[in-house]
């Protein structure tokens, strides 16, 4: 039966090649899409993780608190596993004044490591290297009409710190969201503490080494270890600290399934058309097979074998090409888009260089769709073949 199915495919090489080509293309595009899609997803969440740290320690009930005093705390000493790092961050509102212009801003004090992580956002200038140097969002700098090297004055009266501090602008930041860019001032942590709350931080970011992007268990274990020793403070994983983004994670599989499903539905229609045409052209032959003693079930099996063979071989070809492309994408790739499109792309917080990712799940999903489409597309022609009356079928004139 298998041999017959195979030879039937070879008797119309043009049609088999066209149909197989479509299936191979669908598999290839699916793998390419899934590689880019997973890479984009990873890049997005890697950014969120970079910004947050694996675990975040903040004041209990921080969501409802307003004043800086109750939102900040003196960093406690933490017992952390080998390779883990802790960085303090202090955030507080205030006013930034340049000449006769002023804007309400959020001052963020970062450790040198925290500042170094902003390098990718740096549009112009350099990172702060000494006390009294600041990074401004590009939109904020425009609003205040300041340039690199200009001096600005920070006012944050009524807090625990000095309430006033002078900074020199050493760099401009290009942030994903423009409204954030118009309010962002990044300064060394010590300067922010002097201005807002000496010796205090508004959060601690704990960064672990050797933990995968979506690995939850080590984070939950460390959180459970730390929490009992931090009264008045709350430990959260990076996903708990970013609930809006965390809600996107479960959508990954759904979106992946829907997109690839659409590809395969289109491919399946082409396959169905080819199988149906092949059946119509061979009605007399099917009649002969039935007359010789092939039961309806075995006739249906023949159509299924033809479909599975065609899709199986084509899917392997498409998969080979798709995996080769993925190997290229996995080394990092830059979308070949014009600058204005890349600008929009950055607005979504995505890097210009992505790294494709393809797991066993994605490969199995693609193969599963291919086999499913092969079976579904063969169902109707197979059923028609199984219902043919041998005498009528052998008299059929195409």
């Amino acid at each position: 039966m298998l041999r017959l199915a195979w030879r039937n495919l070879l008797r119309t090489p043009g049609r088999s090649l066209t149909t197989g080509g479509v299936v191979a293309l669908v598999v290839f595009l699916s793998l390419a899409f899934l590689s880019v899609y997973a890479g984009t997803f990873d890049a997005f969440f890697q950014r969120v993780l970079d910004r947050t740290g694996h675990l975040v320690v903040r004041v209990e009930g921080y969501e409802a608190k307003q004043d800086l005093e109750s939102l900040t705390f003196v960093p406690p000493s933490l017992s952390l596993p080998q390779g883990a790092r802790v960085e303090g961050v202090l955030e507080g509102g205030g006013l930034l004044v340049a000449g006769e212009r002023s804007r309400a801003v959020v001052f963020t004090g970062l450790t040198p490591e925290g500042l170094a992580r902003q390098r990718g956002l740096l549009k112009e200038g350099r990172l702060p290297e000494a006390s009294g140097e600041a990074l401004l969002g590009e939109a904020l700098a425009k609003a205040l009409k300041v340039r690199l090297g200009d001096e600005v004055v920070a006012y944050a009266p009524g807090g625990l710190g000095l309430g006033v501090y002078a900074f020199r602008v050493v760099g401009l930041l290009d942030l994903p969201e423009t409204h954030l860019e118009a309010r962002t001032v990044l300064v060394p942590l010590a300067d922010a503490q002097a201005l807002l709350a000496p010796g205090r931080v508004s959060r601690l970011e704990i960064r672990l080494s050797g933990v995968g992007l979506y690995e939850k268990e080590p984070l939950e274990a460390l959180k459970a270890d730390l929490q009992p020793h931090l009264p008045g403070l709350r430990v959260e994983t990076w996903l708990e600290a970013n609930p809006v983004y965390a809600a996107l994670l479960p959508l990954y599989d759904t979106v992946m399934g829907i997109y690839v499903g659409i590809f395969f539905v289109l491919g399946g229609l082409v396959l169905l058309n080819a199988l149906y045409l092949s059946l119509v052209e061979r009605v007399r032959e099917f009649g002969l097979l039935a007359a010789l003693g092939l039961t309806g079930g075995r006739l249906m099996a023949l159509v299924f074998w033809e479909s599975l063979l065609l899709v199986g071989v084509s899917a392997l070809v498409g998969m080979g090409a798709g995996l080769l492309l993925h190997l290229e994408l996995a080394n990092g790739f830059r979308f070949p888009f014009p600058a204005w499109i890349l600008e929009q792309y950055r607005e979504f917080g995505l890097p210009e260089v992505l790294y494709g990712r393809l797991g066993m799940k994605e490969v199995l999903l693609t193969l599963g769709y291919a086999v499913g489409v092969a079976l579904l597309a063969a169902l109707w022609p197979g059923w028609l073949a199984s219902r043919l009356e041998p005498v009528e079928a052998m008299r059929y004139v195409p």
Partner: protein
């Protein structure tokens, strides 16, 4: 021993509000080892009777027995399996699967029965040799003449060692010389191996080798001749 038996068989075709009575109460018995021809003009019911005897169709009335099994009581798939195991079929045209060689075509029924490759090829080759086609065993149908294709179809039927070979106008698409040669081959196999043949034809020139001739007209048996 009776191999084929039709008892009071009627067949009525209904379509587009018109009823056509193709067989009007046919009684026929064929004994093991007979070489029988069904003759009659076009539309006399020869093909219909052969289809009913092969279990390809069901009678409107009457009973059909093959090897003692009542075919008209079997389901569609049971009849298909019965044909596979017990009946050899040769048709007027489109007998062979174009993607298989002559040997593979001749062995096809055995393959469907699950006979091991070595044995089915041996039996198919023997059948092809008996029909003078051993040297063309590896040719595809398109590389064979019409007469050779019909001989391959007969070889397929013989290789399966059926109870009976039913052939519906096997010479209709052949010239008279080739047609006669085919009937001579079939007759030789009947005599040498005792294979039971029942075939239809409307060509009286082919009947000189036939021992029993059954005449059909307007769906009735109108005469029988045993030589």
């Amino acid at each position: 021993m009776v191999i084929l038996e039709a008892k009071g068989v009627r067949k009525v075709y209904r379509g587009d509000g018109v009823e056509t009575e193709a067989l009007r109460g046919v009684d026929l018995r064929v004994e093991k080892g007979e070489f029988t021809a069904l003759v009659g003009p076009s539309g006399s019911g020869k093909s219909t009777l052969l289809h009913l005897l092969a279990g390809l169709d069901l009678p409107t009335e009457g009973e059909v027995y093959v090897g003692g099994v009542r075919l008209d009581r079997l389901s569609r798939s049971q009849r298909a399996r019965f044909r596979l195991e017990r009946i050899g079929l040769v048709f007027q045209a489109y007998n062979l699967l174009p993607v298989l060689t002559a040997l593979e075509n001749a062995a096809f029924v055995l393959e469907l029965r699950g006979v091991p490759k070595g044995e089915r090829e041996r039996r198919a080759l023997e059948a092809l040799a008996a029909l003078g086609l051993k040297d063309k065993a590896h040719r595809y149908p398109r590389q064979l003449s019409g007469g050779e294709q019909q001989r391959v179809a007969v070889a397929r039927a013989l290789a399966a060692e059926p109870l009976v070979v039913l052939a519906d106008e096997p010479t209709a698409n052949l010239d008279s010389r080739t047609g006669l040669a085919l009937i001579e081959r079939m007759k030789a196999l009947n005599e040498a191996q005792g294979v039971t043949f029942l075939f239809s034809t409307h060509d009286p020139r082919l009947l000189e080798h036939v021992r029993r001739v059954v005449r059909l007209e307007d769906g009735r048996i109108v005469g029988e001749e045993v030589r």
